[in-house]
Symmetry: C2
Subunit: 456 residues, 2 copies
């Protein structure tokens, strides 16, 4: 059977596929830092060349930010689009990496072989699973099984500022029957999963200013307002003692979990002790009356992603700082309105400001949550294909992360998104020593070959 | 009269004296940063050479940290010791300096000529006022008027870790009749002042650890404890709504202001609007039932000098940080016990820690407050000398800053400290664009010549 030949080709080609991924990982395409602009460009060029080598007509398309990579291959129906992103997170704190984040390596670990390096899991390793599946298919059959569009972006880690305008301007070109997205994980690192609930994301940066200049805390301490103390009070006030978020109107549009979903999730027997234990924790923080799985899949959150102010170097400096800064993000669910919450958050901060303090805000994106309908038969077909590969029944699950692109496919293009990915909980996404298991890479490629066969 | 000749020599020698100060300012002797260790050494060498050129037998004396500069000159009584420090504060944020902090320059400003550069006021400019007064005296009289000891340290800005052991080991050599210390300012930038009340300082750095590694806030947000939120809650809880510090037992040993001091301070007609207005503020923060002058001279404080955690670079990174850090200092008064307060503060922090969080502390010094008796007739003599130079009655004042050396002279050597300095409120000590007014430098040198004459 033709699928078996493709799977077999994937197995024998794995070392070469790994080498190709390593080459892509060596390009430090950090999208949030302007110093890496040329590297983002280089990663796009690498993908353009690779896709063209598969006979997919691919171009780098300019945006006000980093370029899009768009490729097309004509063929019989259905028309599938594949989305991934070639940009990666910054690497600091660099000193916590055991090796250069952009000098990837294969490591033997007690849990098996891993590919270590920034972007190995998020998202270069994942996007290459689909490309490698296509490569093997082409090698065996001389062609691909259906009409395909590739749509790879380079700004996912910086809030995708160019994405919506680009999708709107090129709506006809990017419209397909189904959008495959590879940027999610296995459930509990072992069960293949199609993500059907995604949280939204609102990112806010605030700067609180007090004195005009940094002051000597001996001369001014006590009598001059300290913006770090003001910021701390604001952050402390964002949650109540029960772990609920206090921004007025925040819970408008947060649905209670439907009974059947609750039952399905209970059936998953999520092991929160292992989930937390992996990262050195033992107690679920957060809302007191919710289960951990609810909290990460279906409840909204507010987290401080960064804070800084005053003297942060070695030793001590008795400064009373002029400014204090924080980066704060909200994960949104249901029909929570990111723009309303942004206004309400900013109003709350302004109201808490004491005299002589000012605040300025910078927006880092505002995307609503999305829920995918799974009634289309392609979902059951894909789920069966994943179950066949992993020898475990695949699940429809929620996801704590935010992949606004899923909502954009639905809302801008009217295309149903299907989110399938092979990351594991201990991949250290966005952290030092990020890795992607060789198992994820290998079985990920095989999974896509099976999904392609099932959908075409 | 001999004093007039000295004052006249000071006037004509001012340009050369300024050049000498500029040479010392060019040495980046930042004591808190190990990268500048050799520069601290170089500043000490420069002072050793300069004092030896005045006939004062001076040596660099090793300590576990930066060296002490100690010089002696025999002569008739009384025996005066002079203390200053040659180390300076770090310079960040460097981007807020208009010029290289270690390329000092003379600038014309609307308020007169200033010497701009790190250390110009704190404390190189100030310590050179005394040395230049001695140089002029020597030039006119061929000798100095009394027995003198110079004691200059290089660790004042990093909590003086070697000072107490050095004073104890060399107690006999460093004992004198009176210790002159030049590290304070004019009252309201115009009234010469002898500081008789100094606050103590307790410096603490804390690191709160939650998850073992930085996490993805989408995957773990809400359910994993966030150490930045924990730290913010702790900082917010350090003051109550009235601005009082909540560390248990903190106010033990804080005296109410004696009536006569309160009356004298009211007589000073302190203009807190101008004091705050200079730095862009208009409202006294802090304890609601205290005057601003009380708050900065005679009340204890707790300030956050620095805070950091998570992603603090450009753009956005949805990280849930593993660690959060703060540098916190307490100014102490009366008989507050810094060691007891340290224990109480640490216990309070530990008590506020939620499950799964740990805290570690690093000490950055713990010195008690000091109050000087002014009954010795040398105080009135010095006060008269200062009044003569500035043509304004000099005052006995408090000081918000902490100069633990004053207490050490009293407690370790039994020597009364006399704190006279010429800094102004807008000198930007510890801040970008630090400066010292040419008026402070010139009249400061003249002031010391008058004080030398008055005390001998």
């Amino acid at each position: 059977m033709s699928l078996d030949a493709v799977l077999s080709k994937i197995d024998t080609d794995l070392p070469a596929a790994t080498d190709r991924l390593m080459a892509l990982l060596r390009i430090p395409s950090i999208s949030t830092d302007p110093a890496y602009k040329a590297d983002c460009d280089r990663a796009a060029d690498w993908l353009v060349a690779d896709l063209n080598s598969l006979g997919i007509k691919t171009e780098k398309r300019a945006t006000p930010g980093h370029p899009m990579v768009v490729g097309h291959l004509d063929g019989p129906g259905p028309h599938l689009l594949f989305y991934g992103h070639y940009d990666v997170q910054p690497v600091d704190p660099l000193e916590l990496w055991d090796n250069d984040p952009f000098d990837p390596r294969i490591e033997e670990t007690p849990k098996g072989e891993v590919i270590r390096g920034r972007g190995s899991s998020d998202d270069k390793g994942q996007l290459m699973t689909f490309i490698e599946a296509c490569r093997a298919w082409k090698a065996v059959h001389g062609t691909l099984p259906c009409k395909l569009t590739f749509f790879l972006e380079g700004e996912e880690e910086s809030g995708s500022p160019s994405l919506v305008p680009f999708m709107k301007e090129n709506a006809e070109e990017l419209t397909s029957d189904l959008a495959l997205i590879c940027d999610t994980g296995l459930f509990e690192s072992k069960t293949p999963a199609i993500v059907t609930m995604l949280r939204g994301l609102l990112g806010e940066e605030l700067t609180i200013t007090g004195p005009r200049i940094d002051l000597h805390s001996g001369m001014y301490g006590g009598v001059a307002i300290n913006p770090v103390r003001v910021l701390s009070r604001i952050i402390a006030a964002l949650h109540d003692d029960q772990g609920r978020i206090t921004v007025p109107g925040f819970y408008d549009g947060v649905p209670e979990l439907p009974d059947e979903i609750e039952a399905q999730w209970q059936g998953l027997a999520f092991d929160h002790s292992a989930f937390l234990g992996d990262v050195g924790l033992s107690h679920p923080a957060g809302e007191q009356d919710r289960t951990p799985l609810e909290m990460i899949w279906s409840r909204p959150t507010c987290e401080v992603n960064g804070i800084w102010g005053g003297y942060t170097g070695d030793g001590f400096k008795t400064v009373l700082p002029s400014e204090a800064h924080a980066k704060i993000s909200f994960r949104l669910v249901g029909t929570q309105d990111p723009l309303k919450i942004r206004e309400s958050f900013r109003a709350m901060v302004r109201e808490m400001l004491p005299e002589d303090c000012e605040v300025s805000f910078q927006s880092h994106g505002a995307g609503a949550a999305s829920v995918t309908e799974t009634s289309d038969p392609s979902f059951e077909a894909a789920r069966q294909a994943l179950s066949d590969e992993w020898q475990v029944p695949a699940a429809y699950v929620g996801c704590g992360g935010s992949i606004p692109i899923a909502g954009h496919f639905q809302n801008i293009l009217g295309t149903t998104p299907m989110l399938i990915g092979f990351g594991k909980d201990d991949d250290a996404l966005h952290s030092p020593n990020e890795k992607y298991d060789m198992e994820s890479f290998h079985k990920g490629i095989r999974s896509w070959a099976r999904v392609l066969a099932a959908l075409t």
